[in-house]
Assembly symmetry: C2
Homo-oligomer: 934 residues x 2
């Protein structure tokens, strides 16, 4: 101690207060003091301040924990006197005396950290009992069995926790358990409650003998010794193995420390007028506004948890103890009005008197979170802003996705039908018959079958088959693999990267590593894209009301309560968000869905997907196989009207909303079949030799296609492709404009790393635009911009912005290149990386702010420096992930773009970010939403 220690912790002074009393009418602490008092202590204090019945007690602050570890397991000098004073106050309030042989005050000692760490640290109950006090308590309560039961529990708890007799390994046996089992065996009973007062008394003696034998010391009879031992044990438990692991997993800093709560014991097991229970102020599963809980009479908390007796619904308490029931209803109201949230409470009734032992904000399902938040706004308890902050954006999926009948699913799992687990790549529930290729999916669907497409991986060739399927299951690829990406865009259920599947295309079956399942073509499976579960058999699903209203239009809004809830949240979100939200879509129907979900434009239209449509793949292949510019142009001429038609469809739907179209991006070999049969077919179709096709496929083969001949590199070497695409875009613009619609095309050049690449492609696009205007005599506006998706693009953003009118961050590829990590190949090690906390989250799910974010920041800064009004967006998959949307808000981007079904999530995430960070980072400019129509 002394001056040196003062320097170490400036808060510790002579006037330092270490003990916060709660009891009577007013507590020393309040709810806001969680850092100092821990969650439990702060809420106990708050309940006292609200006038609720709380057994009196006090909290030893977390600073004592810090002191304890910083000072070789010792306590501040003044602690002892503060504790003594606090216990005196409890004694007065409870009319009992700590250590009294006739009227003993019993205490509980519990840990209580800033964040909840359930079951991680130790608790001691019934502290203060000894041979003398036992007699006094028997005299006082007249209940010998109760007293000895309490005593033997205390001795074993103290032995385990304070004296360290708890086994360190699971293989060892707790000495007290051993004695208890022997006793029950001797008495010929199976349950603890069947033991008599005498049995329990004997147990106490046997426990104490065991303690003496193992530790060499007697069990402490002195209550003060018991108390200090227990306080030390709770502080020590902050550093036990379990607690350390838990903190690591939950990112709880070690420095926080725990508080210790010492409280007068109350007993729910003193007979028929005593009881105990837990309750939620609203239904934690459905969010419904009624008092939801369970209780047991003549029981202690652990009896409710242990499941040996079945507790009763809280409503039944009214008949048994109306006063306590009414008291609870009042308390429910008081707490909800005060905390303005749904709470989880614990209570005990001791001989007809109600005590509150705990209250905290209650955990709830996604659905309940939404319902409670919306209801509480209606009830005037919270503001819409607060409601938005209480709904995790991903919880919205609950409202959008088909879900399994939960009971049926749980039964199937119980029955052993769980096959395996993969990545929850496309949320929702799907059931169908297994098919192993895209053609079969289309064929089976056409004859009315529901199918699940199972592939090692998918490729652009599979798109029609994916569209025909209820869900897609792959054994390879991550959260942003082709399958996952396209599934989300289509709104399909997808479980991806399910590494344990061993798929045999030839045999049309798959098995699972280390399991007996053999699933054959035509068998039913069910996949849960929200959890990644794959289950054998046909589990019934139900569709989302929101989808029925907005997409399938099979339900009227006025009949859809869930839709109405959704609508309210979205309206609030739109009021607060600064970021605009666009969608990634390449088809008119996808675009229409996206608009239904609130998309304000298309942020990424991938033109290459279009080439797989009916009648388009053939000229595309002809183009790729062309030997010279003329042959290529001939094939492109066939593609032009087809692609123009695609754009017309999209422009019509998007009337008045900007549409960002990316010129061709993927390596050309993706458009050619890789198997001999397919190659022969193509050769036949095009009237060339199969050998030539094979040679071309081989010459297009790449070691690292992700870093290969793709993106603007294609357009640079074959400018006629960009030319055709630009012409299709602009001719479609003119045609749809003539229909009286407003068309706002934005042409986006992919994979730009050098401003000269961009300028070359920009020149091609602008020349075509001018030509089309000249030819049609129709003027139109358009933008030319680029994706920032490789580090060099970000680094030279100032140069690129001199020519580019907008940037769209392609954070999928930017993550791959910045981290040197192929998303499709990361399955072998990335999960391990995440579980070891090297990356706290999969960087393909949430933007890696340190690495990728650094380059984004640079690009924003440099881009704005060259072109202050440059439009900035993101169209990587991160655009629909809440923490990434928040980051985009912080960067001051103009918009995020995500798959149609993520649009509501992005809108909510954007609103939350705007509420939490009203002042966006300096490098971002505050945008006037109204002026950002294009």
């Amino acid at each position: 101690m002394g001056d040196k220690n003062k320097d170490m912790n400036p808060n510790i002074t002579n006037e330092q207060k270490y003990v916060y009393y709660f009891g009577g009418k007013k507590a020393d602490g309040v709810a806001e003091m969680k850092s100092l008092l821990g969650g439990k202590g702060a809420n106990l204090a708050e309940m006292v301040n609200l006038g609720l019945p709380v057994p009196p007690g006090f909290t030893i602050t977390t600073e004592v924990c810090t002191y304890y570890y910083a000072n070789n397991y010792s306590y501040p000098k003044s602690l002892e006197s503060e504790i003594k004073a606090a216990i005196k106050k409890i004694e007065i309030e409870m009319g009992a005396e700590f250590g009294s042989p006739t009227n003993p005050l019993l205490l509980s000692v519990r840990s209580g950290a800033r964040a909840s760490m359930p079951g991680m640290m130790d608790t001691i109950l019934n502290l203060g009992l000894n041979e003398e006090a036992v007699q006094g308590l028997i005299a006082k309560t007249g209940n010998e069995r109760f007293v000895y039961d309490s005593y033997r529990r205390f001795v074993s708890m103290y032995g385990d926790v304070v004296l360290g007799l708890k086994p360190q390994s699971k293989d060892d046996i707790d000495p007290f358990e051993e004695i208890l089992e022997a006793k029950k065996h001797a008495r010929g009973v199976t349950l603890d409650v069947e033991l008599t007062a005498q049995d329990l008394k004997e147990l106490v003696a046997e426990y104490k003998a065991a303690i003496k034998k193992i530790t060499g010391h007697d069990f402490p009879e002195n209550p003060w010794e018991q108390l200090w031992g227990s306080v030390g044990a709770v502080f020590n438990s902050w550093m036990n193995e379990r607690a350390i692991v838990y903190r690591k997993l939950n990112n709880i800093p070690e420095e926080w420390g725990t508080a210790v709560n010492i409280q007068s014991m109350v007993f729910g097991n003193l007979g028929g007028t005593s009881g105990t229970g837990v309750a939620f102020t609203r239904d934690a599963a459905t969010g419904d506004n009624y008092f939801y809980g369970e209780f047991l009479m003549n029981a202690q908390g652990e009896d409710v948890v242990a499941g040996t007796r079945t507790p009763y619904p809280i409503i039944e308490l009214e008949a048994i103890d109306k006063k306590s029931y009414d008291g609870l209803l009042d308390i429910r109201k008081t707490l909800e009005e005060h905390y303005r949230d749904m709470l989880d409470v614990e209570f005990t009734i001791q001989e007809g008197k109600l005590y509150m032992l705990q209250c905290r904000v209650g955990k709830r399902t996604a659905f309940a979170a939404i319902k409670i938040a919306v209801d509480m706004v209606e009830e005037g308890l919270i503001s819409p802003k607060e409601a938005l902050l209480r709904i995790e954006p991903d919880q919205l999926n609950q409202l959008l996705r088909p879900v399994f009948d939960l009971k049926a699913k749980n039964e199937a799992i119980k029955k052993g039908d769980a096959i395996t687990k993969g990545l929850n790549a496309g949320p929702g529930a799907a059931t169908g018959r297994v098919v192993f290729n895209a053609e079969d999916a289309v064929a089976w669907k056409s004859r009315g079958e529901k199918v699940v497409l199972v592939r090692i991986e998918t490729s652009p060739e599979d798109i029609a088959g994916m569209n025909a399927s209820e869900g897609i299951l792959t054994s390879r690829g991550g959260m942003t693999s082709h399958a996952a990406l396209v599934a989300r865009q289509m709104g399909k259920v997808c479980v991806a990267g399910c590494g344990s599947l061993i798929i045999d295309y030839k045999a049309r079956s798959f098995k699972v590593e280390g399991k007996d399942f053999l699933i054959k073509e035509g068998d039913y499976i069910s996949i849960d894209g929200s959890t990644g579960e794959v289950i054998n058999g046909n589990i019934p699903t139900k569709p989302s009301e929101v989808i029925e209203v907005l997409v399938t239009k099979t339900l009227k809004p006025e009949d859809a309560l869930i839709y109405q809830m959704y609508k309210k949240i979205m309206d609030w979100a739109d009021e607060y968000r600064v970021l605009r939200v666009r969608t990634n879509a390449d088809q008119p129907d996808q675009s229409a869905n996206a608009i239904a979900f609130g998309a304000e434009g298309i942020g990424l239209c991938r033109t290459e997907h279009m080439f797989f449509g009916e009648g388009k793949i053939e000229p595309m292949r002809e183009m790729i196989l062309a030997n010279n510019v003329d042959a290529r142009k001939k094939a492109l001429a066939k593609l032009l009207p087809l692609q123009r038609e695609d754009f017309e469809g999209i422009f019509r739907v998007m009337d008045g909303k900007p549409v960002t179209i990316r010129t061709i991006d993927p390596p050309l070999h993706e458009f050619l079949p890789h198997d001999e049969a397919g190659q022969e077919e193509v050769a036949k179709e095009l009237g060339i030799s199969a050998k030539l096709v094979k040679e071309r496929v081989e010459s297009l083969h790449e070691f690292n296609p992700m870093l290969g001949f793709r993106g603007c590199r294609l357009g640079l070497i074959f400018p006629e492709i960009t030319e055709m695409q630009a012409r299709a875009i602009f001719e479609a613009t003119v045609n749809v404009k003539k229909e009286g619609k407003t068309v706002l095309p934005e042409v986006m050049i992919p994979l730009v790393g050098h401003t000269k690449e961009f300028k070359h492609q920009e020149q091609v696009v602008r020349s075509v635009a001018e030509a089309v205007m000249r030819e049609t005599d129709v003027k139109f506006e358009y933008l030319v911009g680029t994706m920032i998706e490789i580090p060099r693009g970000a680094i030279t953003a100032n140069e690129i912005a001199e020519a580019a009118e907008f940037f769209s961050f392609g954070t999928n590829d930017l993550t791959q290149t910045t981290l040197g990590l192929s998303r499709d190949d990361s399955g072998k090690f990335l999960p391990e990386y995440v579980s070891r906390d090297i990356y706290p989250v999969d960087p393909f799910v949430a933007i890696d702010r340190v690495g990728v974010g650094y380059l984004m920041k640079k690009a924003v800064k440099k881009g704005r420096k060259s072109r202050p009004n440059i439009k900035l967006g993101i169209c990587g998959e991160h655009g629909g992930e809440p923490s990434s949307v928040e980051f985009c808000h912080l960067l001051g981007l103009n918009y995020v773009s995500c798959s149609p079904y993520r649009v509501p999530v992005a809108r909510l995430a954007a609103a939350r970010a705007a509420i939490q960070f009203p002042e966006i980072m300096k490098l971002g400019k505050k945008k006037d939403k109204k002026n950002d129509k294009k």
Copy 2:
């Protein structure tokens, strides 16, 4: 003009001097005024100042050119009077009068830019002739034919250049050519010289008629009009198509403009006592110190160039005109002493009087450059520093590499034996019989055959075969492909990425796109790794003297003049360079070679190459195929002694020099055979099923292996591999230390993107080091550091440097990730990118300073911030490329590391960088070489 123009070019004032006279004893200009006077004008002035005989004349400055283009093709007001005054001075000096009908002064008008642009702009000779002057000149010279020949040349040149009659397209015919051909046809002659004076006189008339007919104007008879027309034509030629293209190709700024040189004509075609010639002050091919040149009597410059007459060696001039010859020898001495370099001169002898028309620093071969630089130091003409700046580092290759017998090679090419051209990936010349796989290479070599290994691409499995070959030829892969990289490290000749080869492994032959060659196994081919040429047949080669002295030790240094020259250069380089130079080597013999070439340590020892050695691949495969940690450890235990032995060999050779060893880096599938036969063999060897091997290979397959499961990711998931490698390193350290050698191991963790990755691997390495010290009771020093080779590593260098003791930039991978560019796949577009100047140089050859360099700078800055004395190096292939070495010097790195045969190049490049940039960039710290022993 007026104030506004003054503002535009502050140099243009009333006192502005636009015309610089040269003649008499003193010129207005000097050699240093190249920006103002152009190269030609400045050197003419310098020659006058040196007292050399130069026909008098003057230079119109480049500023007039700038003015001309800035002011709508007009001239500064004072120009006319300055020109008139200058011409007056020429008239006085030459005793003739411009425009005089009796004693006319004839002039030449030539362009002369700051940088030489040969043949790009226009020239007019014999200006001042007209119908009157012709008569005067005939009277004066008595040589009618000469005069009319001069006149008709002037008229046609003027017509072409000034009046714009030169055809714009190659398909059109020059009108003057047409008339000339008709005349020769009419006269029944074939050569111009066979035409008579009368013929030439007629030609003049016909030329003039043609001019009148085409332009509608008469040919200008007024010499002043001729002069102004010519000056304008020269300025206009600065913006002609050819000149613009040339400037773009050679990075010459348009703003430089050209000067115009107007000079009195002298004639070498006035009879037997006149002549003309060109000479180099030393042999431009060999560098030998003798006067080298050619001349023709009674001829003009163009006759020497045209090749219609064969010029004589300059030595023969002594017999014909000793005075002029001696004059030239004197001038040679004067010029070399003055310019202190080898010069290229043009001279004319007019009736026995010698005139110098041009002098400039002479172009030379690499060999000559080296020899001249070294000789001039010996001669006291230049300092060693200057000598180093005159030798391009790559020119050193000339001294190190085997070369073809040039005559034999040229004959083969003339004969049509040139097959095709690829990338000059591993310099030198190799001849041998074609084999198509590594096994054959080894087998053929063992029976005494010289072979060239021809592969589509090479892989680590081919290493033994590559080593057995004289050279390697591949059809895929760039300058840093596996083949190129390994070849350079081995010192093998390599031509890579030869895209036109169509290799048929089955038929054991290759053909060439669009050519008739079919080369079969066993046929001889010759490949030139310095030029990329592939030639049919067996062209004799000769080895390098330096290699014979240093590596094969088949020649004594005192017998090797070329070696002695090499030694001098290297000694000078070592004196000036700040950067240390290490080598990339994984074998003792490679290491020994590298030391012979001056390597001061190993900067990159790739452990994976070792696994392909005798008896190592089997346990390596066993390790990869292991199902669990125990099986893996069993296999690793077999590898441990083998790998330890490898390290012992290297440590012994490197005694006292640091050795950086990289832990395993490549994806594991590289160690398994990809063909079924190979897989079956492995299965048999290891006693497991072929199916299992196949499944494992398939499960290890990656879409983008470059971004996949490799580098520290392997070590993180399988720490036992890192453990084994660390143990092999440290046990080898102890063993070699016990032999009395100094061992300085540096363990390098590859592909680190997150500091936690590094810390994990560092921990593994340090634990093993401690264990080995404990077990052996031998203390040793070692470092643990990392490669910076992905952008995130550079971005978070501050965090990584908290733990890492050194960084080595892996610029191959850093370039791949920063540019999003797979080096092995870039062959389809990168050459086009370079030829279009998107990247001025292949970024895999020279560091892209803007993109990759930005991240390197950040990493250096951030790394030094966390750890001021962090050791910084580079071990990518860029480490041996001169401009990249310069950049590393600018960054203040401690060392570069390159393949053994590049070490001399790197030493020279480092010295040149140190001489040119004595103050390295602020972010680099000046290093004390002496203190950087480790």
